[in-house]
Subunit: 411 residues, 2 copies
């Protein structure tokens, strides 16, 4: 008998018939002899509807009140799921963040979990009840309701699994798992049976929106196996876990691409200490997240500084950079919104030479020019012209053999 935490996303509880579907799945897991704790998100679209309501009142609504407002989405879901389970004859009880006591800091709208109390949930499990816990929400030490940010229910699920020492945290979503690349741009994309936490983090941050990145960090820290799978199918999905010896080290697990970035270059910056700080401090003060930063080698006492920011912050960032460029007497500022970032991710890269050059060669063969390059231990990213983005992803997917055969054993 295992203890399983099952987290269902908004698309899995979008309406009453979906909720019944979830209830039947929970019932089956229990009938198979497992203890189950369920975590649910708000019904699809509900969080957005509530946020919009707040924004109709004023442009920047108070964050404490917005958290109180949007946390009702999960409150509705847990109550409806508990009622549905009871109607199937399965004893169930809903719990909100403050009722479990999922203690967070007080950073409204993006709170971080500090502690999860397990006593109440364990008592319910012992009494034969299925606890249905509201995802996405917690409570700070003063009793204020907090929320964990987009995708926060994933983190709730993993945090509960960690605190209760569950055997697995199953994350149910509307896709069948984590894919080698986006099936929308590459029909040959295949589901990955296994993947490491580190690979998942690189994939998540690069735009594969299956799992909240903080949930993966949390899972890695407490070594909670995550099983990403579809609530619309019985197939097993992708197991995210730590690397073990039985796991074949695949060179490249996945290819991601992202069109949501834009590029800014400050040309002929005087190459002296403190210049990068002068450029990036105003940008970070404006809460703009800079992704890639590249500085070429200096030749004649001048250098070019290139970086990427999200498209949504492009105009604001450009204005700030132009002001700084004038102050530090840079020659000019170039900007480009039409870029795409293509990345290859794989835990096997660490010990293999030649992965990056194989990537560059594959792109060159298709005459795709590389505008920027950045690397980490298990990732290589290239910025290319936006129009080549999808093609680049397909070329790399092919070049690293991701379309063929079994990648890893099913979990």
């Amino acid at each position: 008998m295992a203890l399983i935490v099952q987290k269902y996303g908004g698309s899995s509880v979008a309406d009453l018939s979906q909720i019944r579907n979830v209830a039947r799945r929970v019932a089956r897991t229990r009938q198979e002899g497992n203890d189950v704790i369920v975590v649910v998100s708000a019904m699809a679209g509900e969080t957005d509807r509530l946020i919009q309501l707040a924004h109709q009142v004023c442009e920047s609504p108070d964050l404490r009140e917005t958290d109180t407002l949007i946390s009702t989405g999960e409150q509705v879901s847990v109550a409806l799921l508990a009622i549905t389970l009871e109607s199937l004859g399965i004893p169930a009880k809903s719990f909100l963040g403050p009722q479990v006591r999922i203690i967070t800091d007080n950073a409204f709208s993006k709170a971080r979990i500090r502690n999860v109390e397990v006593k109440r949930l364990q008592k319910e499990l012992q009494a034969g009840h299925i606890p249905v816990v509201a995802g996405f929400q917690g409570v700070d030490k003063d009793g204020n309701i907090t929320t964990l940010g987009r995708g926060g229910s994933d983190t709730t699920g993993v945090a509960l699994a960690a605190a209760l020492k569950a055997d697995v945290c199953e994350i149910y979503t509307d896709v069948e798992g984590v894919y080698t690349t986006d099936p929308n741009i590459c029909p040959e994309a295949r589901k990955l049976p296994r993947i490491t936490y580190d690979e998942m983090m690189e994939l998540a941050s690069l735009g594969a929106k299956v799992l909240q990145i903080r949930a993966v960090e949390f899972a890695k820290k407490y070594n909670v196996p995550i099983h990403v799978r579809s609530s619309f199918s019985d197939k097993s999905g992708t197991l995210v876990s730590k690397e073990d010896e039985k796991m074949e080290r695949v060179l490249v697990s996945g290819v991601t691409y992202n069109k949501n970035e834009s590029r800014i270059t400050v040309v002929r910056v005087p190459d002296k200490p403190g210049i990068a700080s002068r450029v990036f401090t105003p940008i970070s003060d404006a809460h703009i997240v800079v992704d890639m930063i590249i500085q070429n080698n200096s030749a004649d006492g001048y250098t070019d500084l290139t970086f990427t920011v999200p498209k949504g912050d492009f105009k604001k960032a450009l204005k700030l950079v132009k002001k700084t460029a004038e102050e530090i007497k840079a020659q000019e500022v170039l900007a480009d919104e039409n870029i795409a970032k293509v990345s290859i991710v794989g835990a096997g890269m660490v010990n293999h030479a030649g992965v990056a050059s194989k990537m560059f060669t594959a792109l060159a063969k298709e005459n795709i020019n590389i505008l920027m390059i950045s690397t980490s231990e298990i990732k290589v990213s290239c910025v290319v012209d936006a129009k080549y983005g999808e093609l680049a992803a397909r070329v790399l997917h092919q070049a690293f053999g991701l379309y063929k055969g079994e990648l890893r054993k099913e979990p």
Copy 2:
């Protein structure tokens, strides 16, 4: 400077523009130098929508879960009102039942308030914040969310006013106060400037749905003045308070009528001890509320037993009574769904003879036959044929002079 609790009903917060209207009124009350605590209901229609959702899942949804579900209605309202107040530059903070600590028993869906903690609210008032408190909800000693039943936000308002020793509890609704009768059936109906708790309770229980009856009981117990008024007008409404010497004792304050009852008569019941108990125990076991009960004097060892039940419970009650009638060998059971109950209410009645006979004479003059009569200290009720209901109310309104002049001084 006064401490005022303002309670706004669902029609007063029906949409964002109504909520802005409420915020402006709260702001004005504060600018006039008062401390304000606001209590709000769910946006009009929201509670019904949520209940319907639960009933779509199953016929009799779990009550604990239903309370968790429907309490989100008020949670949305308080957050939106707090955001609106903040956007007007007025520091405000929302509080849910569990956050204030409005402690109730655990009778889900109809919980009763046991205690209200005032520390947190007093602290917020001292800090210059306006507490915006969710009506209708509380928390039991185990941390479960409870609700107080239909109209429960009135009780929340009065309970907070009592606990905080507020000067007045203003109940904002979509009518301008308590009327001498229903203006829809009698255009001459007039607003009552003052009324006693006892009169209000009789009026409330008889169908004038302005105030939850438990709220009035609570107000009487703790002597909290209630000011019933409209959120769409600046006119003063009806002050509900204890009787004082300055208050002129009006013979009859109001006329109510109610078409929601039905009548059952058990004919020729053997007149011996224990028979009434035999008849009414199965009905009360089925949670059917019996309103009027009349037993005629026995002549020949037999008596007729007549009583009224809500129309919604009519069929169920009739079935139970027929079974009992057979057992106790009554002659037959008569039933009538086409009845109306007309009542006159007035604190002055206690010391005046002839009020009831004046009522009967007025009805007789219009050839309206009286089917049942029941009286209390400050009320006389008659059951008549349904088709005469409205006419009877108008006749009585006229007969007791409720249409003319000032009734009582404005509060």
